[in-house]
Structure formats: structure tokens, C-alpha cells
Symmetry: C2
Subunit: 220 residues, 2 copies
């Protein structure tokens, strides 16, 4: 009987993950108590802490699964982006956005981001930050591809502009998860508007890109 201990360990881990996902989605992160999660996973509270360093650490396991899936889907989009700059950007970004609520609630996203910001030195945060960096790199890579095709101005720093576009979409995503009323459709409209501006600015000289709209009044 090779590895009874290992099997039991894997089993308990799976049960904890399942229980946590269920309870987080059902009652929310704050309301889901460690004791509840442990009970449902049929382990004691102490055992839970042998598997995860703390409650936040447990959330990462779930969030990370989601983001890995998004990265994989995004990768397949990099090879052949649409020729239209706005469409290419929006298409890639929608891959990210449209996956976002598959397994995670907005509250779970908020909590994950929140913990990541507050404790940047933890493995949780480092992992999360690294996933962000990889998403950002995908946007840069897409811009570079478009640039090599001539769809984007050759004199632009694609890597830097990719970061700007990613930072923008990331911030919009934060707004999205912070507003329970906001739908994915709303978010997509916002990002399409922003991307249209960017596309108008970076489109190659010869491309038939639609030029941006006129300016609105300013504030403050």
C-alpha cells in the first residue's frame, strides 16, 4: 500500500478547497468561518492550519486557478489578433473579463486584491503580482505583434504602452468588483471606450483605423 498518508493528505486538501470555494461563494469570505470550512471538509481547525497558512492563503488557491485558466485562454489569442487595433485589444481584454466571474464572486476578488496589497511580502501576494505581470506581458506582446504587422505606429514603445493599457484595464476591473451593481456588459462598454481612444492614438499611419471622437469638457 504505497502512500496511504499521501493519499489522505491529497484528499483532505481537496475537501478543504471544495468546502472553502462553496462557502466563500455561498456566504462570502468574511462570513465563512474557518470552523465552518473545517467542519465541512471533515477536518479540525488545527488541521486546516497544517494545510494553509491562513484564511487568505486559502483564497489564493482558488483565485490562482481562475487566473491560470485566463492566462491559458489569453495565450491562444496572441498568435492571431484581429487586424483592427481596437478589436484586438478589446478581444484580449474580454477574455480576461469574461472569465472573471466563473468561479469567483466579486467579493472574493476584492478580498484577494485587498490581501495582496496589504501583505505584499507573502507568497500569496507575490504569486498574485506575478500573475498580473504575465497578463501585462500578454498585452505588450499583442501590441508588438500588431506593430510588426504595421497596424500600430512603429515609433511607439510597445512594452511600455502595453503596461499602460494593462494598468488601465486592471484599474477598471477594480472598479468593477467594487461595484456590485456593475455588470460585465457595463465593464466591456467602458473598456471599449478607453480602447477606442488608445487605438486612435497608436494606429499605424497607413491603417484605416477610426479616429477618436471629439473631446468632452473637463472637470475640477
Amino acid at each position: 500500500m504505497a502512500g496511504l498518508r499521501a493519499r489522505q493528505k491529497a484528499d483532505r486538501n481537496r475537501r478543504i478547497l471544495e468546502a472553502a470555494g462553496d462557502l466563500f461563494r455561498q456566504s462570502g469570505y468574511d462570513a465563512a468561518r474557518i470552523e465552518d470550512i473545517a467542519d465541512r471538509a471533515q477536518v479540525s481547525v488545527g488541521t486546516f492550519y497544517n494545510y494553509y497558512k491562513n484564511k487568505g492563503d486559502l483564497l489564493l488557491a482558488t483565485v490562482a486557478m481562475e487566473v491560470e485558466e485566463v492566462l491559458e485562454t489569453g495565450r491562444s489569442r496572441l498568435a492571431n489578433p484581429p487586424g483592427d487595433v481596437a478589436a484586438a485589444l478589446t478581444g484580449l481584454i474580454r477574455v480576461y473579463y469574461d472569465h472573471s466571474l466563473n468561479y469567483l464572486t466579486k467579493e472574493m476578488w476584492r478580498t484577494a486584491m485587498s490581501i495582496s496589497i496589504q501583505h505584499p511580502e507573502t507568497p500569496f501576494s507575490r504569486h498574485y503580482t506575478e500573475l498580473d505581470a504575465r497578463l501585462s506581458a500578454q498585452v505588450s506582446a499583442m501590441l508588438r505583434t500588431l506593430q510588426l504587422r504595421g497596424a500600430v505606429r512603429a515609433d511607439m514603445d510597445a512594452a511600455g504602452m502595453g503596461e499602460i493599457v494593462f494598468n488601465n484595464l486592471n484599474q477598471l476591473f477594480i472598479h468593477f468588483v467594487m461595484d456590485e451593481e456593475m455588470t460585465l456588459a457595463d465593464l466591456n462598454i467602458l473598456i471599449a471606450r478607453q480602447n477606442a481612444i488608445v487605438a486612435g492614438l497608436i494606429a499605424g499611419e497607413r491603417s484605416a483605423e477610426s479616429r477618436p471622437q471629439g473631446a468632452e469638457g473637463a472637470a475640477e
Copy 2:
């Protein structure tokens, strides 16, 4: 004797704020216990909770003071921005950045952001989000001013582009406070680089703006 109660109240509030600011800076937000803050302010724990709804609420009072000051300084920069687009953007943004560590530590910023994201419906978060919106509006206003002067392309949506620029600087600021090693100088270099890209893209046709650098290789 008009308002003994009012004077005592103001006094206690001042003492609590001072004690909290001191302890947060000295020992960090997490390590500063409510009991310690209350002791130092010469009130009981119960009394503390008559003045602030919770620990995070107390942080807002400090953070808000800092941001209000930044907004005021920023306002004075709006009327007469430098003609150079990159210089105008970087100048405004440096007002924000250079003030940021006057009264607050990185850890305090992280905590404030963290709480704001996790509990968006609280007054704390609403206030913080509103301050962000006002900063964003300042960036938009500056772009609009430059546009009216002809330093920025007339066909650009200044309000939308202002949001993009703000989202970018905000995200960079998050990176900054998440990395204890990173200095303000490092941050300013990063934002100058990003702004140079933006400036190159949005500069008015006739302006003598420096064109952006060549593109780097892409990733992923």
C-alpha cells in the same frame, strides 16, 4: 461656560488622532492595537468606538487629510501647466507622489487601499474613491487645458485619456507602496518613462514634442 462637553469632545478626538498617527507610523497599522491607541489618547476602548466606527475608519481621517492637501497643491498647478506635454503631466503627478509619504507610511497607504477595496460600501471607501475621482478629474482638466492651447491633438478625448493616465499613475503608485525597497525617485523615473510614451502619442501635430523611443521586444 459654553460647551464644556464640546471642548472635551474635540480634545479627545485630537488626542486619538495624534495617538493613532504616532502609533501607526511607529509600529505599523496591524501592530498598533486599539487598546494602545486608547491608552495613549487617555480614553477607554469603549470611548474610542464612540469616536470612530472601527480601526479602518480611524485610518481614513489621516489619509484624507493627506489627500486633501495633495488636491489643493495640484489645483494650483492646473491654471498654468508647462507647455511641454510630458513636463506638464509629470509635474502634476509628482505633486501627488512627492506628498505621499509626508504623513503616511507605505504600510498605511496599503492598508487604506486594502480596506477601501474590500469594503466598497463603507463611508471610508466611498470617500477614498471620491478623492481618487477628483485626482483623475485634475489630470483630465490638465489635458484639456493643453488641448485648448494646441499642445495636444484636438481629436483626442481629453476626459477619457485623463482617466487612462490617472489609472496608470494610480497603479504605479500601488506598486510603489507594495515594494518597500522602491524609492520615490524610482517611481518618478517609471512614470516619466510612461508619460513620455503618452506625450509622444498625444502631442499636437505642430508641437515640437519629442517623439517616443523605438519599441522593445515583447514577452510571453
